[in-house]
């Protein structure tokens, strides 16, 4: 296996200058060396205990791939577009930027929303920095693999004080043409001091195909900046989706995320937020929907490194069929992070006898003057709620769909941006079989 990856990496990095400047190349080498050293995780690894990824580790993925050449018509993409047509939207098909499907209206001065190639030719520093950081940090094996091979992705920069009023949408899609391939996108977002951004990042599978979508997103929220980040995972049912989102926040900043996980056979998302300044607010909301034999895993880590910060986390799951969900919420409060206010909630609704959930809060608190709470529930729809709806003439199966939607909507309603919230609400309602 290692040999296959080694050969692929040599071909990939040997293919001329398209893999980036020397600094990026050096980072890729370091990341690959790390991956080669540690390999894929197994269930013996505490972080992957409930998430066997043998199928991913064994498959002979095509790693050093060129564009699939698949030309999509705009209407094929229609079901996966999100929000309004006039939002700035970058579309990537099977791992490569698709200018013809993207919409790039003029944005405020200094704002850049661009694919790798443009970012490297215009201002390589941001990408170089991102690649350099990705080797310096304690990386997951998948993130190291991504750093080694990621050939394309989006780079977003919002300069100080600029407020982008319309949401930006980064849409990563895969098609049948990518079957057998590892599609490794990387997103780098830098929101400078006092700037404001609504970002939607989505992963969609247009057709059934066994693909590995191994993605990494890095968001830097500078001092007093405000970011709402909505992540929508709608991979095809045969896909494997492994994602890492790393957030770095400066003082007085506000970061809120909403993570929807709906697709893929195995989906794992790690969300890590580091609060490295005072008076930071971090709100993490999530909704995961499992059915069939899906495995959906969400790992979140909030690093409270500094005093007077607040983090608030609510993840909800709805599991049907024989699906399996994993939630692991880690909150690390360092000794200097006094007056931390952290609350974590994980609630799960089981719709079938075969569905199951492994939920684990993990609070590690080294400061003494803090307020940290957590709670996890796994349950079914309350009979009294069923009866209430039935007594109003609503049949039991419809009542179940309404009550399930209600459970989901409670967390969807936390999305701050109205157009994003509405679009998300429609998406979730339709997935759960009700009208919004």
């Amino acid at each position: 296996m290692n040999e296959l990856y080694q050969q692929a990496f040599e071909r990939f990095t040997g293919n001329g200058g398209s893999r980036g400047p020397a600094a990026v190349l050096a980072s890729r080498r370091e990341a690959f060396a790390r991956f080669a050293r540690v390999g894929f995780p197994t269930i013996k690894d505490e972080e992957w205990r409930f998430t066997p990824i043998t199928a991913i580790a064994r498959a002979p993925w095509r790693l050093d791939r060129e564009a699939s050449g698949r030309q999509l018509r705009g209407d094929e993409l229609e079901p996966f577009r999100f929000g309004d047509a006039d939002w700035c939207t970058l579309v990537f098909v099977d791992g490569h930027f698709a200018p013809g499907l993207s919409h790039r209206p003029p944005l405020a001065a200094g704002v850049s929303v661009e694919p790798f190639a443009e970012a490297l030719s215009r201002d390589p520093a941001l990408l170089e920095g991102a690649f350099a950081r990705s080797t310096a940090q304690e990386l997951t094996p998948f993130a190291a693999l991504n750093a080694a091979f990621a050939a394309d992705g989006a780079v977003v920069r919002i300069p100080a004080g600029v407020h982008i009023e319309q949401p930006l949408h980064l849409l990563y899609v895969t098609t049948q043409a990518a079957a057998g391939a590892a599609v490794q996108m990387r997103t780098v977002v830098q929101v400078d001091r006092g700037a404001r951004l609504q970002l939607v990042e989505s992963y969609a599978g247009l057709e059934r195909a066994e693909v590995l979508s191994n993605v990494v997103t890095e968001v830097t929220v500078a001092e007093a900046a405000w970011v709402e980040h909505t992540r929508i995972q709608r991979e095809n049912p045969a896909a494997y989706h492994i994602g890492l989102t790393q957030v770095e926040q400066g003082r007085d900043s506000h970061y809120r995320s909403f993570t929807l996980a709906e697709g893929a056979a195995i989906a794992r998302h790690d969300l890590r937020a580091r609060l490295s300044g005072e008076n930071i607010e971090t709100l993490l909301y999530g909704l995961y929907l499992g059915r069939g034999e899906q495995l959906v895993d969400n790992h979140t880590t909030i690093f409270h490194d500094q005093p007077n910060c607040r983090s608030w986390e609510v993840y909800k799951g709805i599991l049907d069929g024989d699906s399996h969900a994993v939630f692991n919420g880690k909150v690390l409060v360092q000794p200097e992070a006094q007056k931390t206010d952290a609350k974590q909630t994980n609630r799960n609704l089981l719709l079938s006898a075969g569905a199951k959930v492994d939920t684990k809060p993990q609070l590690e608190i080294f400061a003494d003057d803090v307020k940290c709470t957590h709670g996890a529930t796994v349950g079914r729809i309350d009979e009294s709620a069923f009866f209430y709806l039935q007594s109003r003439g609503i049949a039991r199966d419809h009542a179940q769909r309404i009550l399930t939607y209600a459970f989901a909507a409670e967390v969807v309603n936390e999305v701050a941006s109205t157009p994003v919230r509405r679009a998300l609400d429609r998406l979730v309602a339709s997935r759960l079989g009700v009208r919004s």
């Binding site: 309350d382 009979e383 009294s384 709620a385 009866f387 209430y388 709806l389 039935q390 007594s391 109003r392 003439g393 609503i394 049949a395 039991r396 419809h398 009542a399 309404i402 009550l403 939607y405 209600a406 459970f407 989901a408 909507a409 409670e410 309603n413």
Partner: protein, 253 residues
């Protein structure tokens, strides 16, 4: 309209209704009174089809149709409405959404076209007047964070929208102050029609000052022990239930 004969029902191993006989004619209001634990609320819930109770004997017919054969939603579709003593909170969906779903479920069951959100809002605007509410409350989640009085008003609003043949009010007066009580009673009265009947389950006579019953029945230990006109309620108010039960009531009741 409603005929109950020899109705017996249990929760688990405990028999709660022990042979109820009751006829309610169209256009009438019947009050069911009785001390705590007499089975009043159980009767209301059994009529609506609450799954916690098992009917062991007897029949219930609504305009000749066997109600006990029907699922709770089919009873609602047949025209039964229960105003809950403890309305359920549903965070996540708005009152407007919930009411529209219920309204359309009834229409669909009756082979009528469903109303779209815009047309439904027009209808709702009319109905809101029944309980003296502004449209804003329809954007709040169902009963979520509502005061006790608001929940009861919401039940009456639902009743106004769904226009049942048979409305059953289960202790709708409990926890209401006098102003809220009047609003709820006015709402119920506004919905009275010659082709509709109402059963008012209550512990106190107070509500019956506002919703004047045609008949009053006293339920004790799962059986109707006395029936009479509206003056029976006044007698109960003056004398308590002790003369009918033989058991002194706690002073607080």
């Amino acid at each position: 309209m409603l005929e109950i004969k020899g109705l017996r029902a249990s929760a688990g191993n405990q028999e709660i209704l022990r042979g109820i006989n009751l006829d309610v004619a169209a256009g009438q209001v019947h009050a069911i009174m009785g001390p705590n634990g007499s089975g009043k609320s159980t009767l209301a819930q059994v009529l609506a089809g609450h799954p916690a109770y098992t009917v062991t004997a007897g029949t219930v017919r609504l305009d000749g149709a066997d109600l006990l054969e029907l699922e709770p939603e089919e009873r609602a579709q047949a025209g039964v409405f229960l105003a809950f003593q403890y309305p359920v909170e549903i965070a996540g969906v708005t009152n407007a959404y919930f009411l529209r779903a219920a309204y359309n479920a009834l229409r669909k069951a009756r082979g009528q076209e469903e109303l779209d959100p815009i047309d439904f809002l027009d209808l709702l605007e009319e109905k809101l007047k029944v309980v003296g509410w502004e449209a804003e409350i329809m954007q709040r989640a169902v009963n979520s964070g509502f005061s006790g009085g608001e929940k009861k008003r919401n039940e009456i609003l639902q009743m106004a929208v769904l226009e049942p043949k048979l409305a059953i009010l289960d202790e709708t007066d409990s926890g209401l102050d006098i102003d809220a009580l009047r609003i709820v009673a006015d709402g119920v009265n506004a919905l009275r029609r010659p082709d509709r009947a109402t059963i008012v389950v209550t512990h106190y006579q107070r509500l019956l000052n506002f919703i004047v019953p045609d008949s009053v029945h006293v339920l004790v230990d799962g059986q109707i022990v006395k029936s009479g006109g509206k003056e029976l309620a006044l007698e109960l108010e003056a004398r308590g239930y002790e003369w009918l039960t033989g058991i002194p009531e706690p002073a607080s009741a």
